[in-house]
């Protein structure tokens, strides 16, 4: 029962993300836009390119969707509204989201196209840049909660939200999760201007619809993870828990979609250099600082 409810909410959230993306990107607020766009995509022919690696070509978009949904299973919307409260929840989110990389590699290699392949391998480089910046801030969050349970992590923020307790970790995690969801300015694998769509380039019709759906689900899952790790999850005054979760998740999604809109796309080498030269030392400093804080103010 909870599972079905959470999945329905996830689908609703994904729809709203599509609406928000349309709104922030083009400036039109139309509730029906994703529906019509989806029907249009499903109606179009789904072309299979010449000499594809058929297994990868078919599995890539589906795996993207599956990994995003799997990551959402350990995210609590209210104290009870969670599919499975794993004892290693904070690690499991990360484990599920690594398969986004595998999905993009498959989608890049499968269709036997140059742009797609460049996009897929680019995302591998991007992973090497952002992966540590996902893991290390989560480590600091788990240190404060003294648990890997996601519900426990939310409860640990009842006094002070983690965004104020460890702001450095929040900034790093937020930027890294934008890189994970390949949102602008980190949209290297699907760069519209230079790669003509990158990994998306060879997909069309129903397969492209699944790919886009997976990407939107990924965005809302990451926003929900940010809320759980840094913004106090379901906690807040006056309103019921589910309302707070929904408001926070939608606000974070809107910020994620808007933040990078006005920046130029980052070069792969710059991204790697900045992440390893500034990001990782900052993340280590954050872990150290949180360790001291946890010992001083238990």
């Amino acid at each position: 029962m909870t599972t079905v409810l959470v999945l329905l909410l996830l689908a609703l959230g994904t729809y709203l993300v599509a609406v928000i993306e349309d709104w922030t990107c083009r400036g039109h607020f139309r509730l029906s836009a994703p529906l019509t766009a989806g029907i249009a995509l499903l109606g179009r022919e789904s072309i299979v390119p010449r000499k594809p690696d058929r297994i990868f070509f078919e599995v890539g978009p589906v795996l993207l969707l599956i990994s995003a949904v799997l990551a959402a299973t350990v995210i609590p919307l209210t104290p009870d509204l969670i599919i499975t409260d794993l004892a290693t929840g904070a690690l499991f989110i990360n484990a599920a989201l690594v398969y986004v990389l595998v999905a993009l590699l498959m989608a890049g290699w499968g269709p036997d196209g140059a742009y797609a392949m460049v996009g897929g391998w680019r995302f591998l480089g991007q992973l090497i840049a952002y992966a540590m910046l996902i893991v290390m801030p989560i480590t600091a969050v788990a240190m404060r909660a003294e648990s890997l349970l996601t519900t426990q992590i939310v409860v640990s923020q009842s006094g002070l939200w983690n965004i104020l307790y460890q702001p450095v970790g929040f900034v790093l995690f937020f930027v890294a999760s934008m890189a994970l969801a390949f949102l602008p300015p980190f949209d290297l694998p699907t760069a519209k201007g230079e790669l003509a769509g990158g990994v998306e380039a060879e997909y069309s019709g129903a397969r492209l619809a699944v790919f886009r759906l997976g990407r939107l689900t990924l965005i809302i899952t990451l926003a929900a993870a940010t809320v759980v790790f840094y913004l106090g999850g379901w906690q807040g005054p006056w309103l019921p828990p589910w309302a707070w979760s929904a408001i926070k998740i939608l606000v974070v999604t809107a910020v994620m979609l808007t933040a990078g809109r006005y920046m130029p796309r980052i070069r792969e080498t710059d991204l790697l250099g900045w992440c390893w030269m500034f990001g990782i030392p900052l993340a280590l400093f954050n872990i150290f600082l949180v360790g001291v804080l946890v010992l001083v103010f238990p």
Binding site: F56, L91, A95, W121, L127, S147
Partner: protein, 174 residues
């Protein structure tokens, strides 16, 4: 047949099957990703053996590791797409024999040794994580730290071996 037995054998067969696919396919990306799915099936097997932390960790680490494997395969193999169906093996009979002999020997040991009574239950996952953390930073700290230092050394050594040697004669031109 319990659920645990079913899942162990299911994921075990999946792991071995993908392990065999690694050496049977001609496409190098398929080969690397088959190894990834073999390792992922092992992670699922750990989960069904109630080693939750290890299972999740295995699933997480191997995805990155094997994807990096895939790009190195594409870089260094002569025919990464596998369209030429090139044979990349040697001493086939010897290695097949060695593989079968080691498999049979290991199975024989597993069957004939008296392992003693099996434990019926394991501690729950949260307790396991706590125990493992205390073990790593308590009694086994020296081993754990040695592993950390070793991996740092390996990283530095691998980078030192791999970076392009600087050509002295070209220095004046830049």
């Amino acid at each position: 047949m319990t659920a645990q037995m079913f899942f162990i054998s299911f994921f075990g067969i999946a792991a071995v099957w993908f392990g065999i696919v690694v050496f049977r396919t001609f496409s190098m990306v398929r080969s690397a990703l088959a190894l990834l799915f073999s390792q992922t099936a092992l992670g699922a097997m750990f989960l069904s053996m109630q080693a939750e932390f290890l299972g999740v960790l295995q699933i997480m680490m191997m995805a990155t590791e094997m994807s990096i494997m895939a790009i190195f395969m594409v870089m260094f193999m002569m025919d990464p797409g596998g369209l030429g169906e090139m044979d990349m093996t040697h001493q086939k009979r010897l290695s097949l024999g060695a593989g079968i002999v080691s498999f049979v020997a290991a199975v024989a040991i597993a069957v004939f040794v008296d392992w003693g009574p099996a434990a019926s239950s394991a501690p729950d996952a949260a307790q396991q994580t706590v125990d493992l953390g205390l073990e790593l930073l308590g009694r086994s700290m020296l081993i754990f730290e040695t592993a950390g230092i070793t991996i740092l050394t390996a990283m530095i050594a691998a980078t030192a071996v791999a970076i392009q040697p600087v050509k002295r004669s070209n220095e004046h031109e830049h």
